[in-house]
């Protein structure tokens, strides 16, 4: 296949490059080219949010963006969420609140929730629910997820 595209980008702060078919999504590139399998494909149509990442700080579904579009961007995935050995408060609170059961939606929800708290450190329950409406979870009924996000937000506000 001759029409592969060379892409240089930054993922979780690291300079990376890869070759991809123009049809490949950013999610394909992350998973298959860079072996970052934390973002999941639950639907491929932007309806489930399991592939959530941020691109230049903007929350997106990586299944709805081409790998080629990543050229020159800064991408953040679940793999970069813990800094050094230290979990992000959201990650810690998700474990403490049992906010995951099967865990397959968890990376996407954590990335989305982190993006929310960066924009709005003190969201209401309703704001959290609407922000996360594009992140399907089939196991938990969302209750413990919402509690974990609210609790993490509170802790982060206290620490700030």
């Amino acid at each position: 296949m001759s029409n592969k595209i060379h892409v240089s980008t930054k993922v979780n702060g690291d300079e990376v490059e890869f070759l991809c078919d123009p049809r490949e999504t950013l999610l394909d590139a992350l998973r298959d080219r860079l072996n970052l399998t934390g973002a999941k494909e639950g639907c491929g149509t932007g309806d489930c949010g399991a592939c959530s990442v941020t691109v230049d700080g903007r929350l997106v579904c990586s299944c709805l963006m081409l790998g080629a579009e990543a050229e020159g961007k800064e991408i953040a995935t679940i793999e970069g969420m813990a800094e050094g050995g230290e979990l992000h408060p959201l990650q810690r609170k998700f474990i403490e609140h049992a906010a995951l059961q099967c865990g397959v939606c968890t990376p996407g929800i954590l990335v989305a929730a982190k993006n929310l708290l960066e924009k709005n450190p003190d969201p209401t329950e309703e704001q959290v629910r609407y922000w996360l409406a594009g992140n399907l979870c089939r196991c938990t009924g969302y209750d413990k997820i919402i509690r974990a996000v609210m609790d993490a937000a509170e802790e982060m506000r206290g620490a700030a």
Binding site: N3, I5, P22, R23, T25, G44, T45, G46, D47, G49, S52, V55, R58, L59, V60, C61, C63, L64, M65, L66, A68, E69, A112, N115, L116, Y130, W131, L132, A133, G134, N135
Partner: protein
């Protein structure tokens, strides 16, 4: 598939004009990538328009009107400090499309060019009187939004043409807009019915109005009779009832997996009333 990143609208137009197979323009990609993934459309040429200067800008012009770049994402509209104060209905309509993630990419122009009669931003655009500039092989032309869609999934754009800018009129005084849609869930659905209304008041009396309905016909409708039903009124119960009747009369929907003819027609009237009340309150300076 070939992936292009032209640096000007003229180049983008030329690539499309010379293409032999299926062509798609890529801005936010929230429809195009779904079509590719679902094997509905695999373009031979995909033209990414985000490398063209100015496509990410929201600009208020000297006359108070707005020019919105064709790759401005919904989230960028929502975060804009003043656009949503002047055109809350338009911004909210855009914001209703898809998830937070989709908002990070989806655009007004993409929503329009996808040609869906259920597109959330389109009734709000039509109600607001939005126009677009179309660039093509023969230069540019300005077109009203309501003249872009020609049927489900189809537009009036010709081969080699693309929308190069979107213009929102100056809001002016004593005016307000609103958009409401009906979906079975609270988020993540396609509108079963959508209604956008923009109006102006003089005191308590409505002096201008535009009413638009989505998902009740093959294209989004501008319903002149519905506007007539409330112009000159104080949006009293009688006016609301005739608005609802006019909205229902304009409907020629289909039965499908998302709703029935009967439901869509009925709810079009209900939404028209509810939307009008919000737009009216906003026009009168009330916080809604």
């Amino acid at each position: 598939m070939k992936y292009h990143t032209p640096a000007s609208f003229a180049d983008a137009s030329a690539i499309a004009a010379e293409a032999h197979g299926v062509t798609r323009f890529l801005a936010g990609g929230t429809d195009v990538l779904v079509q590719m993934r679902s094997d509905i459309v695999t373009p031979e040429d995909l033209i990414d328009v985000k490398h063209i200067d100015g496509v990410k800008d929201i600009t208020q012009n000297a006359d108070g009107s707005w020019t919105i770049g064709i790759a401005v994402a919904g989230a960028e509209m929502t975060e804009h400090p003043t656009l949503g104060q002047e055109w809350p209905g338009l911004v909210e309509a855009m914001d209703l499309i898809g998830s937070t993630q989709v908002q990070g990419r989806a655009t007004l122009v993409g929503n329009l060019c996808n040609g869906s009669p259920a597109a959330d931003s389109v009734p709000a655009q039509i109600a607001a009187g939005v126009t677009v500039t179309v660039t093509g092989p023969n230069g540019t032309r300005d077109v009203a939004v309501e003249d872009i869609p020609s049927g489900p999934g189809r537009t009036t754009l010709q081969k080699g043409e693309l929308i190069s800018a979107l213009h929102v009129p100056a809001r002016g005084d004593n005016a307000g807009d609103a958009y409401l849609r009906f979906i079975p869930r609270t988020e993540m659905d396609i509108a079963v019915v959508g209604c956008g209304i923009s109006l102006r008041v003089d005191g308590d009396v409505i002096t201008e109005a535009r009413v638009s309905l989505g998902a009740v016909a093959p294209t989004v409708l501008l319903v002149a009779d519905a506007a007539k039903a409330i112009i000159g009124t104080t949006l009293d119960d009688a006016a609301l009832d005739s608005l609802a009747k006019a909205a229902e009369a304009a409907c020629s929907p289909i039965d499908d997996k998302r709703g029935t003819i009967e439901f869509r027609t009925e709810v079009a009237g209900v939404l028209a009333k509810r939307t009008a009340k919000i737009a009216y309150a906003r026009a009168k300076g009330e916080k809604v």
